[in-house]
């Protein structure tokens, strides 16, 4: 009989996080309530760091995780880009978990104790003072496993399982905000419904591609792009449907409608997780599908993807200009950034390394930005309306300075990771001949600089209102998140060499 050989070391990062997620469920059942937070957060951080270490140990692997007599099966492919993105996701999630564990900014944290209690009822009022649920940690870990699997999935079916696995816990997490629960629940429902549609599209597209290629394996689909004698229409429909589902997760125009609402409604730590880690996963998947599975049919999808990239860059930037809410502003900025990343997807092979660098750099910046948002409070609620941030530089110069650095990084000023990431990405794309896209990217960056700059103006040049919000310091967890994010933003801006090299070395997909 043909026995399947399993590369346990290669699967170790995912197994560790998966095991920790189940361990977290047991913790819920066994550990007394008062100590759950410390145990859960500790477990999650330890598991993610262990997963990161495991990724580092196997970093030069380039093989399938499952094989029969030396022939790799395509389901899980451990190669440079997959492992780089797994490592990125693990590190970013460590930071995001710290933010989830913050309980100092408001009594009991940002999460509701019992989500099933009817919003605004008497029981809900009563539980406002209780500590938030700690199930968020295992949920997050499950989502993280899904993301890590998504970026190494070598066939469409595995990818779908991973997609569902990363999505379902996130739908739930979005609805767990303690304040403004109705908005939070609305966000969860909206995200869930649209996500379900996206999944349906995905499955339908997968069926079409299977009909075209006779396989769900990405490498096989690529072969079929050259050799198949099935009607090409199947390929077109299949690619379109799969792209819709993945671009939905990546928040590209016109599949972005959910982003501002969900980013605003979800608890801020969850928003940070989505903006950083889910973006990495979604683009990891896009990079793999288009580089490995659809490279041979590049001429069929290029044009439409270019249109989407342009719409995303310009749409995100232009809508960002009109925003008055800091979380919505960051949401639209994340949409515009998805557009820049799409340039990297379209430029294919040469741009993989710089796209991955961009994902890592952007992830740290955006997590730190949301962490700052979670610190600026009006009483118990976050002060998300921009007018409330006026004059923050007078009352809390440290926080304002940090946020200024983050805004300038997002605007792409030199000496921040925002510049190095953009430079690398645009350079790779220009090298691949995508002049038009790069010019649009630059125009979009110029438009986007305006809303960022307006925030800086508000922070420093405006007079604070008499009842200006307070900055809750010290909040050790959120403080650590901000520190880590800003440090990464500056280090990757001033000395990006090491990560560029790592990303470049890791930029070759295993193409079997």
């Amino acid at each position: 009989m043909n026995e399947v050989q399993i590369d346990w070391a290669g699967l170790a990062p995912m197994i560790i996080v998966f095991a920790a997620a189940f361990g977290g469920l047991l913790v819920e059942a066994t550990v007394p309530r008062a100590r759950r937070l410390a145990v859960q957060a500790g477990l999650a951080v330890a598991a993610l760091l262990a997963a990161f270490t495991a990724v580092v140990l196997i970093h030069d692997k380039s093989s399938a995780a499952f094989s029969i007599e030396g022939t790799g099966l395509g389901s899980v492919v451990l190669d440079g880009p997959g492992l780089f993105l797994q490592g990125t996701i693990a590190l970013l999630s460590v930071v995001a978990v710290l933010l989830l564990a913050e309980r100092r900014t408001t009594r009991g944290g940002d999460f509701v104790a019992e989500a099933a209690v009817v919003a605004d009822s008497a029981a809900d009022k009563a539980q406002q003072r209780e500590d938030g649920a700690t199930e968020i940690f295992p949920l997050t870990l499950f989502a993280v496993v899904g993301m890590m699997m998504f970026v190494v999935a070598g066939d469409l079916l595995t990818m779908f399982v991973a997609l569902e696995m990363l999505s379902l816990p996130l739908y739930l997490l979005c609805g767990l905000a303690k304040r403004r629960r109705l908005i939070s629940q609305e966000a969860a429902l909206k995200y869930f419904l649209l996500g379900a549609f996206a999944s349906a599209f995905y499955v339908y597209g997968m069926a079409m591609l299977y009909g075209f290629a006779g396989t769900v394996d990405l490498a096989g689909i690529n072969q079929a792009g050259i050799a198949s004698n099935q009607p090409r229409l199947l390929l077109y429909i299949g690619v379109a449907m799969i792209a819709v589902a993945m671009l939905f997760k990546a928040a590209a125009v016109p599949f972005h409608m959910w982003t501002p609402d969900v980013y605003t409604g979800a608890p801020t730590p969850v928003t940070a997780l989505m903006a950083a880690c889910v973006k990495v996963a979604a683009f990891g998947g896009l990079l793999r599908v288009f580089n490995v599975g659809l490279e041979s049919s590049a001429w069929d999808w290029r044009m439409i993807l270019m249109v989407i990239a342009i719409a995303t860059m310009l749409g995100g930037a232009i809508f960002a200009v009109t925003q008055r809410n800091i979380k919505r502003l960051l949401a639209y900025s994340s949409i515009a950034n998805a557009g820049y990343l799409l340039i990297g997807v379209i430029a294919l092979g040469d741009a993989v390394g710089s796209t991955m660098f961009y994902l890592a750099a952007y992830g740290f910046t955006v997590i730190a930005a949301f962490a700052v948002v979670s610190l600026v409070r009006d009483g118990d609620e976050e002060a998300t309306h921009l007018s409330r941030w006026a004059g923050l530089g007078k009352k809390s110069p440290g926080t304002a300075a940090v946020f200024t650095i983050l805004m300038l990084a997002l605007a792409g000023l030199p000496f921040t990771s925002g510049f190095t990431a953009k430079f690398g990405l645009f350079a790779a794309a220009l090298g691949a001949g995508e002049v038009g896209l790069v010019v649009v990217g630059v125009v979009s960056s110029a438009i986007l600089a305006f809303p960022y700059l307006r925030v800086v103006v508000l922070l420093w040049l405006n007079e604070p209102a008499p009842d200006a919000p307070t900055v809750n310091l010290p909040s050790p967890m959120a403080g650590a998140v901000v520190a880590a994010g800003v440090a990464a933003t500056l280090i990757l801006g001033v000395a990006p060499g090491f990560l560029i090299d790592i990303a470049d070395q890791a930029s070759t997909f295993l193409n079997t």
Binding site: T420, F423, A427, L430, V439, V442, V443, A446, W460
Partner: protein, 514 residues
């Protein structure tokens, strides 16, 4: 030649100084001021060492004092410094004008509740960034500082500026420059892709020239747009009157006196050697823009009611002259243009500082709020007149030499342009003399007598900081030869690219100092 890393020190000293000054508590305002002044003094000393060690002979290497330290190898982004005669002049201008600007702003912040250490730290950071742009010999390194310098200037205008429109002015300045910079970024990347991943300026210049054609034209336009906004040339100038009008006078002196020169400096350093054919192709357009700028800005300056905006407009007219000088491509005109950058820095710097003294006393920059002020402020009025006359290029003052060279060179190249530009001199006389007449002479504005400060003529500190500028303007007006000697080899080297004879360049000094 490389015993001491002088150029690295020129960038590092003010940068470290900025961090040190920024960390001083705001109660210790005096400590911050003196520390900042001391740091800028050290910078001036280092500059003097560079100037003394510089080889002024015609066959000297183009860039001297070169240093290179690897930074990001994958992008050929290195900390490469080097200085030529043109850069040397502008470095000297920066090093000289910064401490003077600091002294000029010494008391500006006494009345307002703004952090004094932050103000001086920002000035030092600005100085570091400006010096770095003059000294960088790596295209991407230049771009880094070209963009980064927007941040300190933005806060200097927006946070410490005067007038109701300071925020508007700061944002406009930042966005204008950033947009120009982003288009330059595309061109920078395009250059990198085309050259096969080379950013080192010396390597780029020594390589085979880029073939003429649309790629070179587009790259030129990308660079030029950024520089034309920075300079600023007509019609990209509209941010300058707002920024110059809103900035504190000392900062405005640095803004117009030094920072704007980076645009014209960069045209000489980057546009001409890297894209010579495109430079020739677009030269008529640039000269046309420059001539319009000279005349238009002069007319608008005559109509200004605000002193600082008026001086800003006069500068736009002067940048027109610099543009004509560069793009006429004669040795005389290009040398004149470089001298113009230097002399304009001295004259306009002085003019802005004097206007700053006036507005601090009167509490207003509106011309209508003055009138007959010379009666109580004879010395200040005298210096004001002197600065104005220098600004209109009176013979005997340094700007005369440069304007004469520009027009002389332009005349050999294109007579109508020279004739039209000469009209600008007449208009300059009009706006300078009217400005002086309306503020200092004529019937005394009775409101002035109610302002006690308007009776206090120049203090010792003010005299001390004005004196070096006056001496320099007169000194270089009578004996400009040292400046010309410093500039001419670099100008000749640059113009070789226009005539297509760059093979005759003096051998580049080996890139050393790992």
């Amino acid at each position: 030649m490389n015993e001491l890393p002088l150029l690295s020190a020129l960038v590092a000293v003010p940068l470290i100084g900025a961090v040190v000054v920024a960390s001083i508590r705001r109660e210790n305002a005096d400590a911050a001021k003196w520390t900042a002044l001391a740091v800028s003094g050290v910078v001036a000393v280092i500059t003097a060492m560079v100037a003394l060690g510089f080889d002024y002979s015609a066959d000297a290497p183009w860039l001297q004092f070169t240093e290179t330290y690897t930074w990001v190898e994958a992008w050929d982004l290195n900390l490469s410094w080097g200085v030529d005669g043109i850069a040397l002049l502008l470095v000297a201008l920066t090093a000289g004008l910064t401490p003077i600007a600091m002294l000029a702003a010494w008391r500006d912040l006494d009345a307002v509740k703004r952090s004094v250490p932050a103000f001086f730290a920002l000035i030092l950071a600005l100085q570091a960034a400006m010096l770095a742009t003059f000294l960088a010999s790596n295209v991407l390194l230049f771009y880094f500082f070209f963009e980064a310098m927007l941040v300190p200037m933005y806060f200097l205008i927006g946070s410490y500026g005067t007038g109701p429109k300071k925020q508007y002015a700061a944002v406009k300045f930042f966005l204008y420059s950033l947009v120009g910079g982003l288009f330059m970024l595309v061109a920078v990347i395009g250059l990198w892709v085309h050259s096969g991943g080379v950013f080192d300026w010396q390597t780029l210049v020594a390589a085979e020239p880029m073939e003429a054609g649309s790629l070179q034209n587009w790259l030129f336009l990308g660079f030029f747009l950024a520089f034309a906004i920075k300079a600023p040339f007509f019609p990209f100038h509209t941010w300058l009157p707002d920024a110059g009008g809103a900035a504190p006078a000392a900062v405005a002196a640095l803004l117009v006196g030094v920072m704007d020169k980076i645009g014209t400096f960069a045209i000489l350093r980057y546009c001409i050697p890297l894209f010579p054919d495109a430079t020739r192709t677009f030269a008529p357009w640039v000269i046309g823009m420059s001539v319009i700028g000279v005349l238009y800005a002069a007319f608008v300056a005559i109509g200004q009611t605000d002193l600082k905006r008026l001086v800003a407009y006069t500068s736009i007219a002067h940048f027109g002259f610099i543009g004509i000088g560069i793009f006429a491509f004669t040795q005389a005109s290009a040398t004149g243009a470089v001298l113009y950058m230097f002399n304009h820095g001295l004259a306009t710097g002085l003019l802005f500082i004097i206007v700053g003294f006036l507005t601090l006393r009167r509490g207003s920059a509106q011309i209508a709020d003055y009138g007959g002020a010379a009666k109580t402020l004879p010395l200040l009025a005298g210096i004001f007149l002197f600065a104005g006359l220098a600004s209109l290029s009176l013979p005997g003052t340094a700007p005369f030499i440069s304007e004469f060279l520009v027009l002389f060179g332009a005349f050999t190249d294109n007579e109508p342009v020279a004739v039209l530009a000469t009209l600008g001199i007449i208009l300059a006389a009009a706006y300078v003399l009217w400005m002086y007449q309306r503020t200092m002479q004529g019937d005394r504005n009775p409101a002035l007598d109610e302002v006690p400060a308007m009776r206090r003529d120049l203090t010792l500190r003010e005299k001390a900081l004005v004196a070096p500028l006056v001496i320099a303007i007169l000194g270089f007006g009578f004996y400009p030869q040292p400046l010309i000697d410093a500039v001419e080899p670099a100008v000749d080297n640059t113009l070789l690219f226009i005539s297509g004879e760059q093979a005759d360049l003096p051998a580049a000094e080996g890139v050393s100092n790992e």
